[in-house]
């Protein structure tokens, strides 16, 4: 009936036609077979075979229904009667695979607990692992005693089993596992290599939130009692964590624990050497002297016979090359020989490292090697190479010709969307940043859209062509490519081509009549959107329509960037109810929400630590603020709310009353909204008001206060204070706050308050209104375009010395903080060790004035930071004001 596990070898059978012992296996039949588990006389070997078949089914992706799983589980528990060791092991596996429900667990608990105290170490170790996988925290307290013993058991397998289970249990029942730290500490001293490793891992996890304890742990262990390579790797990770945290506090002097990391480079085990080398290269602000020993060992790895080792080394060096290209140049010869490595991952990493470290003279030689290389690697590697070439080209603009040629050659070859997109993006960036490359780059792009299967890319290129093409020496040569799209492509691309034609028409007068002819032909297009666009542009360019009275308006309409975040527009449109009043696009909030960015981060492939779990989506409060404020009659006349700040805490955490404040900025008023929470159950607060002393803020005068009638325990309430200020004046100042109220005792049992109250007051922290409060963080998608579209007349440039600063990054974030603007294109991140940095900011100043700022930072002398500030805005006066802010800040 049952298929025998061991199949007799049939010599007549062709080797190809070999069939597996599980051929034709069927779930129903195996479940039937599982009845042998109920036999009074258990056949251990037979039962083993059946369990193996069940596990095979699960392993192949079969699933059991709830009923089937329960049945198998109960049958399996019967097998504890057998003394057969092999069968017992399979029973353990089966129980883990079935992951029984809580009420089922109880049935096996006693059997497993018996095994946990068995004389056979193998039973004990496995029973611990199984039991800890399936029990809940109430049962855990029952077996806790045994587990503590097991941790210090002299058999390393048992100890490891208990420790690893501890790591697992820490997630579900941390309070229990934390009680084991004495035992775990003892196990760290174990002579068994793996016990030491598991104990260290668990001990660190128990203490990970206690920075001091981790630092102590590292200090004691780095003196050397750790022998296991795995444990040593762990220790290196913890050490670099401690270094990271301590360097934030103390600057200068020798880096603590560096000697330890360096000594690990001489360890016997390669994994430890690699771990240490990597830890050194990733140190914050690592110096070239610190890097040298690490680079030397990695260089040795490059010529290893083991691919894994070569890969590990080249990957690490590749990362170093991004920040310290000079430190890696010594390895260039070894690197070049890796280009022909059998393993293409290694070859790609070697190539890109060379591209990062290469100098101007080696570019041509490298490009020659690359051409052969590109054809036999996968798309994802090609993307890496393309990105490396792009940055190389930006570094050596003179070499653009050969690099651009290379890009256009690979653009012509086969490839998926992501790869093509990487190439197109690179070409576009090169065109933008290297003026000489413009004509040839645009030409390559035109060639590409002649035969491009991706609608998205065609429209992207057409849009770009419309902006850049008209400014070239001979715009007419692009028209053919664009109009071909109108004839040959799908509706989306056709519509996009029509817009591009219109842009040429608007900017190049000599082409206007011909563009008109082409646009008129589009009026007979089969698609609505294409026809509509053609009609609109014809009217617009013909100057007959009301939309574009002057040429400036036409250009504004055609080229102006759409700076309203689409998410906000979408919500506003959804909220809009059809009525007499038309939808007003200027009422859409310009504030960029940080939410989409946070979401993007969590969907990334990076392991999500506990920190990222906390930074959930930021609640969007703006709309609710506006509603709340306009519902208060005193504030209704203040006009349109310009900006609401994030809440600023005015009390320490865990005090009796917790208060934070939100600053609402209007054109001529400021409303402070105090959110108060009463954290004492025995008190009821009444007539709560914040007394604000504005003597240090003389540009403000108090106009209204709205007190809070009553503030019961744990239900937050708001009180408001409103100030008047001159419109257009950048009023700043410091406010001191005192919370005043009448306090009444509450009987906790009945919840009733006394009739008599006592007046009391509570000192809050000071609040500042800074110039950043008058600035909305509004991002632009393309800073360069936005910058160029602004009036150069409005530009104001000046230089500032910022004095001694801790680091460039610190100076950059300080200036961003003062201005309160949105950093664009990720320029708020300063690569470590760079000596200069450019930061792009954008925002909207009160009065709806768009402002763009370009900041160039440089180090002049040790830690002295100098800054050049260039501002463009819709209003030159505001540009001056931005300079004033920085000068005073």
């Amino acid at each position: 009936m049952a298929q025998p596990l061991v199949v007799k070898k049939d010599d007549d059978l062709d080797e190809e036609e070999y069939y597996s012992p599980f051929l034709g296996i069927e779930k129903g039949a195996v479940l039937q077979e599982a009845r042998v588990f109920h036999d009074p006389q258990l056949d251990a070997r037979r039962c083993c075979q059946v369990i193996t078949k069940l596990l095979y089914l699960l392993n192949q992706g079969d699933t059991f229904t709830k009923v089937e799983a329960t049945e198998v589980f109960f049958a399996t528990t019967k097998l504890f009667q057998s003394k057969d060791a092999g069968l017992r092991r399979m029973v353990y596996l089966m129980i883990k695979e079935l992951s029984p429900s809580a009420d089922e667990v109880i049935i096996v608990t006693s059997s497993l607990m018996k095994d946990m105290n068995s004389k056979t170490d193998m039973y004990r170790a496995n029973a611990i692992r199984v039991l800890c996988r399936i029990i809940d925290s109430t049962l855990l307290t029952q077996i806790e005693r045994y587990l503590k013993q097991a941790i210090v058991d002299k058999n390393p397998v048992v100890a490891s089993a208990a420790l690893v289970s501890g790591i697992y249990l820490l997630q579900t029942s941390p309070e229990v596992v934390k009680r084991w730290s004495n035992e775990v500490q003892e196990a760290v001293q174990s002579r068994a290599a793996l016990v030491q490793f598991h104990a260290l891992a668990l001990l660190h996890q128990i203490r990970q939130n206690d920075r001091l304890a981790v630092s102590k742990l590292v200090t004691s262990l780095t003196r050397g009692s750790v022998r296991s390579p795995l444990a040593q790797c762990l220790l290196i990770r913890y050490t670099s964590q401690v270094i990271r945290e301590s360097s934030m506090n103390s600057q200068g002097g020798d880096r603590p624990f560096f000697d330890f990391l360096e000594s690990c480079l001489r360890n016997k085990a390669e994994m430890v050497i690699l771990e240490a080398a990597r830890a050194i290269t990733e140190l914050n602000g690592v110096t070239s002297r610190e890097l040298t020993p690490a680079i030397t060992v990695l260089q040795l790895f490059l010529s290893s016979s083991k691919p894994v080792l070569r890969f590990a080394a080249v990957r690490t060096l590749n990362k170093v090359a991004s920040t310290h290209p000079l430190a890696v140049t010594n390895c260039n010869i070894d690197m070049e020989s890796l280009i022909s490595d059998q393993n293409r991952s290694i070859a790609t990493l070697a190539i890109t490292t060379l591209l990062k470290t290469g100098n101007e003279s080696s570019v041509d030689r490298l490009m020659k090697q690359m051409t052969n290389f590109m054809s036999d690697i996968a798309d994802e590697f090609k993307i890496v190479v393309v990105e490396a070439i792009r940055s190389l080209c930006l570094k050596f603009p003179l070499k653009y010709r050969s690099l651009m040629n290379f890009l256009s050659n690979i653009l012509r070859e086969e490839g998926g969307f992501e790869y093509k997109k990487a190439i197109v993006d690179s070409i576009i960036i090169l065109i933008r940043d290297i003026p000489d490359a413009k004509e040839s780059g645009l030409f390559h792009l035109c060639e590409f859209i002649e035969d491009c299967e991706f609608t998205y890319m065609s429209t992207q290129i057409l849009h770009f062509l419309g902006n850049e093409g008209p400014k070239t020496s001979d715009p007419s040569k692009y028209i053919r490519y664009i109009y071909n799209r109108v004839i040959l492509e799908n509706a989306t691309v056709r519509a996009s081509a029509v817009s591009t034609l219109a842009k040429f028409g608007a900017l190049v007068d000599s082409l206007k009549p011909r563009i008109f002819v082409l646009l008129r032909r589009c009026l007979f297009d089969g698609d609505d959107e294409v026809r509509d666009r053609a009609t609109l542009y014809l009217k617009l360019l013909g100057g007959e329509a009301t939309v574009g009275e002057t040429e400036k308006d036409v250009n504004e309409f055609l080229f102006g960037s759409f700076d309203i975040p689409l998410v906000n527009l979408e919500t506003s449109l959804q909220n809009y109810e059809p009525s007499e009043a038309p939808f007003d696009i200027s009422s859409v909030s310009l504030e960029t929400k940080s939410q989409p960015l946070a979401e993007k981060k969590t969907t990334g492939k990076k392991p999500t630590g506990p920190a990222s779990a906390l930074s959930g989506p930021v609640p969007t409060v703006d709309a609710s603020y506006e509603k709340l404020l306009s519902s208060i009659p005193e504030f209704a006349g203040f006009g349109k709310l310009f900006k609401s700040s994030a809440p600023v805490e005015l009390t320490e955490a865990e005090t009796e009353y917790s208060v934070n404040v939100v600053k609402h900025i209007y054109d001529g008023h400021v409303v402070l909204q105090y959110n108060c929470t009463n954290t004492i159950p025995e008190q009821l607060l009444e007539e709560v008001v914040v007394f604000v002393d504005a003597s240090e803020a003389d540009e403000f005068s108090e106009v209204a206060t709205k007190s809070l009638r009553s503030l019961p325990y744990d239900s937050p309430g708001q009180t408001f204070v409103a100030f008047e200020k001159l419109e257009g004046v950048l009023a700043t100042g410091k406010f001191s706050n005192i919370l005043k109220f009448i306090v009444k005792e509450v009987d906790p049992s009945t919840g009733e308050a006394d009739d008599d109250g006592v007046e009391d007051e509570y000192q809050l922290e000071d609040l500042e209104i800074t110039s950043a409060d008058y600035m909305l963080k509004v991002g632009v998608s393309n800073f360069r375009n936005a910058w160029e579209s602004m009036d150069p007349e409005s530009e104001r440039v000046d230089e500032y010395g910022l004095g001694a600063r801790e680091s460039l990054a610190e100076a950059v974030s300080a200036v961003i903080g003062i201005l309160g603007m949105q950093p664009c294109e990720g320029t708020d991140v300063v690569p470590s060790n760079s000596r200069s940095h450019t930061c792009l900011l954008s925002g909207v100043f009160i009065g709806n004035v768009k402002v763009l700022v370009r900041l160039s930072f440089g180090l002049s002398g040790p830690k002295e930071v100098a800054m050049k500030l260039a501002v463009r805005s819709d209003d030159p006066e505001i540009s001056d004001k931005i300079h004033e802010i920085v000068a005073n800040g």
């Binding site: 012992p21 599980f22 392993n59 883990k96 089993a161 790591i167 083991k306 894994v308």
Partner: protein, 177 residues
Amino acid sequence: MESCPSVKNILLLDSEGKRVAVKYYTDDWPTLSAKLAFEKSVFVKTQKATAGAEAEIVMFDGHIVVYKFIQDLHFFVTGGEEENELILASVLQGFTDAVDIILRNNVDKRTALENLDLILLCLDEIVDGGIVLETEGSVIAEKVSAHGIEGATSLAEQTIVQALTTAREHLTKSLLM
């Protein structure tokens, strides 16, 4: 959790990319189809590689995979992007060594399937919940077979020294009890 070296999965596939035995330790691939898709892409990406004595390595989709082919069996160990490659390689080495011992140097798909119970136990002994339990192939094999089905035969194969140490252990244990 981030700082502890961890293994995301161990795969044993045949020369057509079909499962012989697999074990996933994390929820990076929550569904069966996600798992199968991953196995397929691993298999395809490593197909061209020449199987040598040394473990090979590939990186894609934010994972590092170290792998080794023996006869018609493909062994894979997967870790995260930031993982120490050599730790993963030592897990792979332990796995292949153990399988070699368990299958008595007949490492091929047929023998592996015939002894699937031992292969599954082997996977269970190498990694628990992503944490490396043991990387020494002979130790893993011993854990699997010492009490395994062929417990009796393995006793016959023990050298005299081994037999003596086992006997001594038993003796001391019974004395202690």
